[in-house]
């Protein structure tokens, strides 16, 4: 039996997706920031116009599901647009449970994502990494990624809902 398998997420994976999302948030010390629910994931990922796509990594494990598999990693991505070059693949989240690292799951997920990007004629894969996350930075730079914040000076900004509402409603 193969040590692991990468496949597209299915609606019934949503509870596992949320479990892994919370594990990743915990690693980033942001667990209380996760307000997303299984219902949101289901509606937004498996409706007529999905807001995201997901790959999952599963390993065999008799004590888990009826099919004997455990989901131990995921990557969430969606398509974005650069008006200079066109379609891009944006990697939103990428996580493998610590106890399942070192098996090549991360590399295989990234390989799958790259193939999706090329198949969909995306020019590039984009993502953000926290500057303190040295293992991730090394992982991506080893694979040819460039830090555009450092090299070109791009800074990421956000505007929260409270301010969006203010902008949307003021004259």
């Amino acid at each position: 039996m193969a040590p692991f398998r990468i496949r597209k997420a299915r609606p019934e994976d949503c509870p596992d997706l949320l479990r892994l999302i919370k594990e990743l948030a915990k690693y980033e010390d942001m667990e209380d920031q996760v307000v997303l629910t299984e219902k949101d994931l289901l509606e937004d990922g498996f409706g007529e116009h999905p807001f995201y796509h997901c790959l999952v990594a599963e390993v065999p494990g008799e004590q888990w599901t009826a099919e004997g598999h455990l989901i131990v990693g995921f990557a969430m991505y969606y398509f974005t647009y650069d008006p200079w070059i066109g379609k891009l693949l944006y990697l939103e989240d990428f996580f493998v449970m610590p106890e399942f690292r070192g098996l090549g799951i991360g590399s295989e997920i990234l390989k799958n994502l790259s193939q999706v990007a090329l198949k969909c004629r995306c020019s590039s894969m984009h993502f953000v990494v926290a500057e303190w996350n040295e293992p991730s930075i090394r992982f991506y730079k080893r694979r040819g990624a460039s830090d555009l914040s450092t090299e070109e000076g791009w800074r990421l900004f956000k505007i929260d809902k409270e301010h969006l509402l203010k902008m949307a409603t003021e004259e």
Binding site: P83, K111, F157, K158
Partner: protein, 173 residues
């Protein structure tokens, strides 16, 4: 001056490409623009469009020195956060220099914010170049927070040969 905001139509794509190039000039990166009118049209008017766009239009009597009535645009799309769900991403916001100072930029951004709220988005996100002080001040004036400074988020990309090598399962620069 009267200025109307409306969704971009397929026939506006040539004008939008013109302004994309103007913005790239301003950002000192004009050589990076590879998009064409045709690609923008295909990608924006497909069954599942890859982006959405608003244009700002002035009446013919107020057209630009070069004769354009489409004088600004806001290009955006929906993204997703594993923490908070739907977000709206403002990719480009541009007003031709001779039409600035009339609130058109703010109108475009407010409309995108409104679209975000209507679609249950928790946040709007975008990037700004660190030397673009005028833009940073404008956005911070509307409640924007610099996540690169505040939380250390850096923007990465993986493209060209590196992307192809990864697809073949190879490491390397």
């Amino acid at each position: 001056m009267e200025c109307v905001l409306r969704p971009c139509r397929a026939e506006d794509c040539a004008e939008v490409v013109r302004m994309i190039k103007e913005l790239a000039e301003f950002e000192k990166l004009p050589d990076q623009v590879e998009i064409s009118d045709q690609v923008l049209r295909e990608d924006g008017f497909a069954n599942d469009p890859f982006y959405r766009c608003l244009v700002a239009e002035v009446p013919p009597e107020h057209r630009s020195r070069d004769g354009h009535t489409v004088v600004g645009y806001g290009l955006y799309f929906f993204t997703y956060s594993t923490w908070k769900g739907r977000n709206i991403y403002m990719e480009d916001l541009y007003v031709m220099p001779e039409f600035r100072g009339k609130g058109i930029g703010k109108k475009l951004m407010s409309k995108i914010a409104e679209i975000g709220v209507e679609n249950r988005c928790s946040q709007m996100k975008f990037v700004v170049l660190d030397w673009n002080r005028a833009a940073i001040d404008f956005y911070q004036g509307h409640g924007a927070v610099d996540l690169t400074a505040a939380e250390g988020w850096h923007f990465f990309h993986l493209e060209g040969d590196a992307l192809k090598q990864l697809a073949r399962g190879q490491l390397g620069q």
